[in-house]
């Protein structure tokens, strides 16, 4: 119990490590193609992403297990944690609105990988500081 508490005492480090591991798992799938790693990561990410290869980045000729928008969110989220960006409510609101607008725009007018990527990056960068803060608050409450 004491050990668990000491681990949770550094909750932001745990979040950073978990987030980095999450990104490595995304990259690992195409690198370890046709192995259990590939199968497992695809199965895990299938629950949260459509995994359409035509809408995903490719690594070593193989698609990542998540689409461009999701990959952008996750990589930007991790980058934001590493960079230690500060919370900004306005940026978060703007980026969420932009993401929703881009999603609707892509369905109705013009679908572009760069736009999908940019909207995902904005959400990832602006959301991460709030998640880190939540972890710190939970840690302080213990």
């Amino acid at each position: 119990m004491g050990k668990l508490r000491s681990v949770l005492k550094r909750s932001s480090d745990v979040l950073l490590a978990a987030s980095t591991l999450w990104c490595f798992a995304i990259i690992a799938a195409p690198v370890f193609e046709w192995t259990w790693v590939d199968e497992m990561t695809h199965e895990i990410f299938r629950r949260i992403c459509h995994q359409d290869p035509s809408r995903s980045w490719h690594l070593a000729g193989e698609p990542l297990p998540v689409c461009i928008r999701c990959a952008s969110i996750y990589f930007a989220f991790t980058a934001s944690l590493w960079l230690g960006l500060k919370m900004n409510v306005r940026w978060l609101r703007v980026s969420v609105v932009l993401l929703v607008c881009e999603f609707i725009f892509a369905r109705l007018v013009f679908d572009d990988a760069l736009l999908r990527s940019l909207s995902g990056i904005l959400v990832g960068l602006s959301a991460a500081p709030f998640v880190r803060r939540a972890f710190e608050e939970m840690q302080d409450a213990m």
Partner: protein, 203 residues
């Protein structure tokens, strides 16, 4: 009154800086020290919502958009929690109730999954070939096609249920927690950056 962080001029009754969001008045979360939050009720409601939506045929497919229903369930749980303390809840509270709603949601989703699989097997099981042909005719490809075919096959075993339950438990808790945190942030119930006690410098 001036903001201590950015120096912006603020009205006397302001609780938060309109420029940077820093708490300038008394911390709203400590205004009612005796009031304890009940996390279970909001988490149950959020969990029921996300569990049902995630396990419903066709509707559940929308979870492939960044776990949409799960984020929504976490958000709803947080909004219900906020009703108990209109002055605002902390990001930690949002995270906790979100994660809890994700856990409840995974249980609901697994319970709903079993009859849904049995019904879909009865409906489509004997017509697997026709279903495949129909999907090809309508040009349904990729993940959507795979999902519909899997639903139609009605595959149901202890192993399938266990794998689904464990993966749902982890994914739903994680994404509902993020939904809870972002709801607190977006609804601006706790704008401030001073909800925490000062942290000692790390050596």
């Amino acid at each position: 009154m001036q903001c201590k962080e950015c120096g912006a001029n603020l009205p006397e009754q302001a609780r938060y800086c309109l420029q940077c969001g820093t708490t300038v008045g008394p911390d709203p979360t400590t205004e009612q020290p005796g009031q304890k939050l009940d996390f279970v009720q909001p988490a149950l409601s959020g969990g029921m919502l996300l569990g049902f939506l995630s396990s419903m045929p066709i509707i559940g497919v929308f979870n492939c958009i960044c776990c949409m229903w799960v984020l929504l369930g976490g958000g709803v749980a947080t909004m219900l929690l906020t009703r108990q303390r209109p002055a605002g809840v902390t990001f930690g509270d949002g995270a906790f109730v979100g994660a809890l709603s994700g856990l409840f949601g995974a249980i609901v989703s697994t319970i709903v999954f079993i009859p849904a699989q049995i019904i879909s097997k009865r409906l489509f099981g004997s017509q697997a070939e026709q279903l495949e042909k129909m999907l090809s005719d309508f040009g349904v490809e990729g993940a959507t096609r795979e999902l519909i075919l899997r639903m139609g096959s009605g595959e149901l075993s202890v192993e399938t249920i266990l794998i689904k339950f464990v993966s749902d438990l982890l994914m739903y808790a994680l994404f509902a927690m993020i939904g809870g945190i972002l709801t607190v942030a977006i609804l601006n119930k706790q704008k401030g950056t001073k909800g925490l006690t000062p942290r000692p410098p790390q050596v």
